[in-house]
Symmetry: C3
Subunit: 317 residues, 3 copies
Amino acid sequence: MRQLRADGSLRHLITLEDLPRPLIERLLERSQSLVRPLGERPPVSRALAGCTVANLFTEPSTRTRVSFELAAKRLGADVVNLEVQLSSRVKGESMLDTVYTLQSLHVDALVIRDAETGVPATVAAHVAPHVSILSAGEAHVAHPTQGLLDALTVRQHKSRFENLSIAIVGDIRHSRVARSAWHVFQALGVPDLRIVAPPALMPGPDEFRGCARHTSLETGLAEVDVVMMLRIQKERMTEVDLPDAHRYYASYGLTPERLALARPDAIVMHPQPMNRGIEIASDVADGPHSVIRDQVRNGVAVRMAVLSEVLAWRSAA
Amino acid sequence: MRQLRADGSLRHLITLEDLPRPLIERLLERSQSLVRPLGERPPVSRALAGCTVANLFTEPSTRTRVSFELAAKRLGADVVNLEVQLSSRVKGESMLDTVYTLQSLHVDALVIRDAETGVPATVAAHVAPHVSILSAGEAHVAHPTQGLLDALTVRQHKSRFENLSIAIVGDIRHSRVARSAWHVFQALGVPDLRIVAPPALMPGPDEFRGCARHTSLETGLAEVDVVMMLRIQKERMTEVDLPDAHRYYASYGLTPERLALARPDAIVMHPQPMNRGIEIASDVADGPHSVIRDQVRNGVAVRMAVLSEVLAWRSAA
Amino acid sequence: MRQLRADGSLRHLITLEDLPRPLIERLLERSQSLVRPLGERPPVSRALAGCTVANLFTEPSTRTRVSFELAAKRLGADVVNLEVQLSSRVKGESMLDTVYTLQSLHVDALVIRDAETGVPATVAAHVAPHVSILSAGEAHVAHPTQGLLDALTVRQHKSRFENLSIAIVGDIRHSRVARSAWHVFQALGVPDLRIVAPPALMPGPDEFRGCARHTSLETGLAEVDVVMMLRIQKERMTEVDLPDAHRYYASYGLTPERLALARPDAIVMHPQPMNRGIEIASDVADGPHSVIRDQVRNGVAVRMAVLSEVLAWRSAA
């Protein structure tokens, strides 16, 4: 599945893997121009007036859905929200019938969140040439706009990607956030990328190539510039025979003491929602190193930039 | 219940039965002017800016709800979506209290889908003179915008209604789609209208007057210009003691072989969602005779035309 | 929790208690200017274009949610609807994380309905200075926009608040509508405010100070100018060992005979949804004294006025 058009512009955004670095940098540049401090008005335009964006979220995800919805509305697009189960229908043609229906309703971009691997790519392979597919989270595989907003957040605090140490901490094995972060930070030339997890949550050996692996949080955090914490699913703990939440926190929770092992100007990130007191201490989440709320704000900017990019030919038309 | 205003303009759209042919033709004309090829932008205006359309869907129907929602938005109207159970409350006044509330909120048009017979007409009989009621599907009785989009689709492929043979195939007895098609094609002067169904799904003898009845799909399809397939509900099969899906397909499924009995330039329609492999073969659904996706596209145009028509006095005001 | 800014303008609206009378009067004045007769177009502007309003409704409340949604849209604001359970999370920080997320998405006003006491104030105490919190109903405590629309409705029919007799009838103990009515009518100088309820539904002695208490509907209604009926929850009846619906109606239902005890020009109000035949006779609900549908219409105007007031600094910016 190709994400780029013949002219090199972005058509779909399903994964950050193999996306050309100049394109990523252009998206980050454009996103940055759309960021406003809290309390100021977000940029609003009519650039996508007459365009239609459909949100197909099959998993409940208020935050990401609202972020995409506001991004589209602030560009003047019409937005419709649908709750459709696509994944259970992947094998039949009925998933595609739903998509063809939306396409025939002159929907220009489909934003898809689905718990099953491969749904966005399957849809992208079948839609008409004028329709763009944007993944808003695909199983454990990819969450590309999250990866971009994470990169944008780092970029706002650190001058150059080329000399950074970044640690991603938590349930790496099941995390689409970790995979998209890995893709984007590799593309941007981050030299020291570490994944930190208990053995049961460490990904297979063929994944996350180029990353250093740590099962100790202490060594994993040593002298890093960026700490990316992941959400741990409580259900997962029983599943993979992990210790309980209390003991998880004792070993892998980000406390002020542990954060002190990182560089003094380290930033702390989390994709939310947070389990405070399990993977992260409240003192850290709300502390001076935290840029967690910046990530949310950056998320709308990134989604505006991506929508503008994939629908640019529309607004020019 | 009168659907027309004293000046002959359309106020409500609840059924196509007895609608004057010139009005139907005007609606089709206007709809056609709003159709755009896939990939082009749909027409967008501010004609209904300041108007409010409320979607009251008590049955889940993503496709029809989104179609009405986009039609209203592309005319500049404000849209609110409600999930309200009206039918269980028909006997009490509480259904009407809900409607009076929406009326007092300055809602101009109520789009109602309900599984119980009579709800749109009851509501229409009580609302204030400036409020329009549009049925988006009433029990087995009527689905007027579907009827119009079906007529529009035929009109795009066949020059004159007056020399057409049209076969409607499937669960005629329980189908509002079939009833609205019957109404519109009769009004437009289609001389050869056939209904094709197993005996258990054939309507009572006092309905569908003027239609030829076929229990054999083969004779029903002979030399027709248009094949309208209906969705068969799997639940229905047990209910009316029908054979299973496999045997239904064997007798009533539209296969390429059976389609060959129709005219060489016959078109195939389906209101969706389709049960591929039960009432229709995938080869037919996706084949060169299929205009099923055109129907969806035409649906938005029809709903824009109907909203424009019933709210024309508003935009003039 | 302070609802006013340093300059005396309204920032949050969580309760009408202690709100300065001039501010209430200004809100009513502004609301009145936004009222249009049924059948005329509601006023529409772009005053809040670029602003974002989020509806967080944790109890289903179609009527109030739609009223706020239309108020915001008719001022040109973007609206997002969320279903989030806040109350169960009050004790943890996760409720606030949800709110911080919305704040970071550049939401300007959060409209909150929640069944638990204290949620709007807790949220208001934590949001950034540019975010406004509007309560759309807080437990049994307050429903300030309902109080304002009730006052506006009275104001439309009675020349001066200073010589009115108003009776609030029904489940006073559990009613946020009654409490906000009490606040607003006291502030506006209503001299004779009565609460009428069976003993089991009468509030504690430290509440509703200044109100005369009646357990007899007959004495409670004598010579009043305004009758405000409340909805009685059927569940409540068993809970507090009340007689059944039939016997409740016999003692506390507003019949035409009982209404005749009020002044000849008395108006009848109800916040809806009504239990016809339990707390109110249909003849009264639909009769010449009823202003119940006016209340709904006034509700949008009040919400437009409140949104304009709290976001005025935005539209000026």
